[in-house]
């Protein structure tokens, strides 16, 4: 088992013919992901990287039974692309695109909530995220595949390259990963920490969990509460942004401390109180995880 993505996922790529879309689709295919279709309006009927391209998601789903999508559409049009997938039968939507206006995402969330109340529960990962990888099975995203190794740790993160750093250490310790989920750095997003950790908690293959958070918002605090009440598996956490100046946007739109909310201090406090092992030095991630897990055996 794994979460969200596996070797049976039938993946559709929105924006497959663009520069980024094209480059990363090729990498995903090379990793073994089952990419069944691409969508670029106006290019329907053609083939790109050997993958059939359609004008609409509706056509692509009808012809290929795609159930998962990966979005590379430019920011001004990406929210619409998410909705096109949501309204046409895609169950898992992974949006890589960075820079989508927050108001657009608020509209997307409203529609996803409406669909949910009709019984259509759609998973959205991102936007502004590296994607999802289930090592050895499939990768839907922009992460370098080779740093991963099939294993037992579920990793969820608000960042991209920061996740690679942690993954690389977990891989080198021989622990490996069940699934790695990049939920993205935007203030309004699809899955949050709690949603993802819930799935990891129910997944048999995932035996420990690493959460990589950052300053801003209260998703880490919410996760701490959830973990304390529901999770028996060992949980580790790292929070970036301890030294970030207040009120400045540190790259990610969501990584901003406003007033007294969302500070590094409040997050670490909540996590520690929930019994989570908090990693202070990112470079020690592998070592700490390894020694704690060994002590529990």
């Amino acid at each position: 088992m794994s979460i969200i993505l596996n070797k049976n996922s039938r993946v559709l790529v929105c924006g497959i013919t663009g520069g980024h879309g094209s480059f990363h689709t090729e990498q995903c295919i090379a990793y073994g992901t089952n990419i069944v279709a691409g969508v670029t309006p106006g290019k329907g009927g053609t083939k790109h990287l050997g993958v059939p391209v359609f004008n609409t998601v509706s056509d692509a789903v009808k012809e290929t039974s795609a159930d998962t999508s990966m979005i590379f559409v430019p920011a001004p049009y990406a929210a619409d692309s998410i909705l096109e997938c949501a309204y046409n039968g895609i169950k898992v939507i992974i949006c890589i695109t960075e820079g989508i206006p927050v108001m657009d995402m608020a509209r997307v969330k409203k529609h996803l909530n409406n669909l949910k109340s009709q019984g259509k529960n759609i998973i959205l990962v991102g936007p502004n995220c590296p994607g999802v990888i289930t090592p050895g099975e499939a990768k839907c995203g922009i992460m370098p595949g080779y740093i991963h190794k099939k294993g037992s740790m579920g990793i969820v993160s608000r960042s991209g390259t920061l996740t690679y750093e942690a993954v690389w250490q977990i891989t080198n310790e021989g622990i490996g990963e069940s699934t790695v989920v990049g939920i993205g750095g935007d203030p309004v997003q699809g899955m949050n920490f709690v949603d993802t950790i819930k799935l990891f908690n129910e997944d048999n293959e995932t035996r420990s969990i690493l959460m990589i958070g950052e300053i801003g918002g209260s998703a880490e605090e919410d996760a701490a509460k959830f973990i304390k009440e529901n999770v028996k598996k060992p949980v580790f956490a790292f929070i970036a942004g301890k030294t970030a100046p207040k009120g400045r946007r540190m790259g990610h739109a969501g990584a901003i401390v406003e007033g007294s909310a969302g500070t590094h201090e409040s997050k670490v406090k909540a996590l520690k109180e929930a019994g989570i092992t908090v990693i202070e030095n990112l470079s020690d991630t592998g070592k700490i995880v390894s020694s704690v897990l060994k002590s529990k055996v």
Binding site: S159, T161, F238, A253
Partner: protein, 385 residues
């Protein structure tokens, strides 16, 4: 993008939100003679991006022309230090001159994006004037929260409910307020704001509603569809930060001595934290982005080196989208173009890392290579001492 008071009020005026009568804005080098003032007293307000201006001497009342002249002369060019400027001050370059109003009541109202519910939300309190943080601490029971549908906007019944909750029952004021609240939400949604705050919203002795102050922050991601906002001056960024922004490099100047070039915002933040753990302080936050090319790396280098505080540079790249050999080529090219007088520590990991390390090694230039983030931070900090 943070707007100063009068820019925010320009948006209010467009949406029929009542503001105090404006006589004009005066910049350094100008004086009050350019304004036609028909009635005193007037309020003179420093136009800076910080709250708490009043207490710091950035808001003053003038009873006549000579007083106004004196106040404006002193205020323009002064350095304003408020509780929100983080110890440093902000230079006052513009002042806003408005008609003074007699205040009967002050109300707090703002619209924010509530991350928890992914929805615009009104935050209000029948007692205004102090900051929302103070309000939340002192009188949390007075704070009203009302989620707003992002597609419909504030509905009539919500506006009415809000008016009752804020004790606005006077008949003529009631309709004025409900229209105001609906329009404030329109400003928030139509301008893709992260925050629209009116503090205080006042009721005058003449029973008029006036948005006495404005704080508007527009989502940077949305500027492509708000050309009017995008063309306003960027008052938050330093010259160096603006230069970086122009070439799409995410740079924020800090106080330390280790210059940093990192790919990805999260890793960049974590790198600053690790430098601190290694006993040093970063000179900047810099995210070269996912798809940075050789030219962009070169430019990033130039920007970092323009900061005279930088005593060593740490390049920390975990190559995913950006391959390590491209980074290495960028570093070598930059080193050839720019006169680098400080030591450079490079830590590469990821796609094509071997090729990247080879390029650096064979470049004929002197780079200190590091094998891990911790190794790189320790080396860079040591070189600064």
């Amino acid at each position: 993008m943070k707007l100063v008071e009068y820019e925010g009020k320009d948006l209010f005026i467009k949406y029929s939100i009542p503001t105090a009568k404006r006589y004009g804005v005066i910049k350094i080098g100008e004086d009050i003679s350019k304004l036609k003032i028909d009635e005193y007293p007037v309020v003179i307000k420093a136009q800076v991006l910080a709250g708490g201006r009043g207490k710091a001497g950035g808001v003053k009342i003038a009873k006549n022309e000579s007083e106004a002249k004196e106040i404006i002369k002193n205020m323009l060019g002064m350095t304003l230090v408020t509780h929100q400027t983080g110890g440093k001050g902000i230079k006052v370059e513009e002042v806003l001159v408005e008609k003074a109003n007699d205040i009967e009541r002050e109300i707090y109202i703002s619209v924010i994006m509530d991350r928890k519910i992914s929805s615009p939300t009104i935050i209000a309190s029948k007692e205004g004037g102090m900051s929302i943080e103070e309000l939340a601490k002192d009188k949390p029971e007075l704070i009203v929260k009302m989620p707003v549908d992002v597609e419909t906007g504030l509905m009539d019944w919500q506006a009415r409910e809000l008016a009752y909750k804020l004790d606005i029952t006077d008949k003529s004021l009631f309709c004025e307020f409900t229209a105001f609240a609906k329009n404030l939400v329109k400003v928030f949604i139509n301008y893709d704001a992260n925050l629209v705050e009116v503090n205080p919203l006042i009721i005058t002795k003449e029973k008029k509603l006036i948005a006495l102050d404005s704080k508007v922050i527009v989502d940077d991601n949305s500027l492509f569809r708000h050309k009017d906002i995008a063309s306003l001056p960027d008052r938050e960024s330093s010259e160096l930060e603006k230069e970086a922004k122009k070439i799409e490099i995410n740079y924020i100047g800090l106080d330390g001595s280790v210059g940093c070039m990192v790919n990805g915002a999260g890793l960049a933040m974590a790198t600053l934290d690790t430098i601190k753990l290694a006993g040093g302080d970063a000179a900047n936050f810099l995210d070269v982005g996912g798809g940075a090319n050789v030219e962009q790396i070169t430019n990033a280098f130039k920007i970092i080196l323009k900061d005279p505080k930088v005593k060593a540079v740490l390049v920390n790249i975990f190559g995913g989208i950006m391959k390590c050999d491209n980074i290495a080529k960028g570093i070598v090219e930059a080193a050839k173009n720019v006169d680098i007088k400080v030591p450079v520590v490079v830590r590469l990991e990821g796609t094509n890392v071997k090729e990247g390390k080879e390029i650096l090694k064979n470049s004929g230039l002197k780079f200190e290579q590091a094998d891990s983030l911790w190794d790189g931070c320790k080396k860079a900090v040591a070189l600064c001492k």
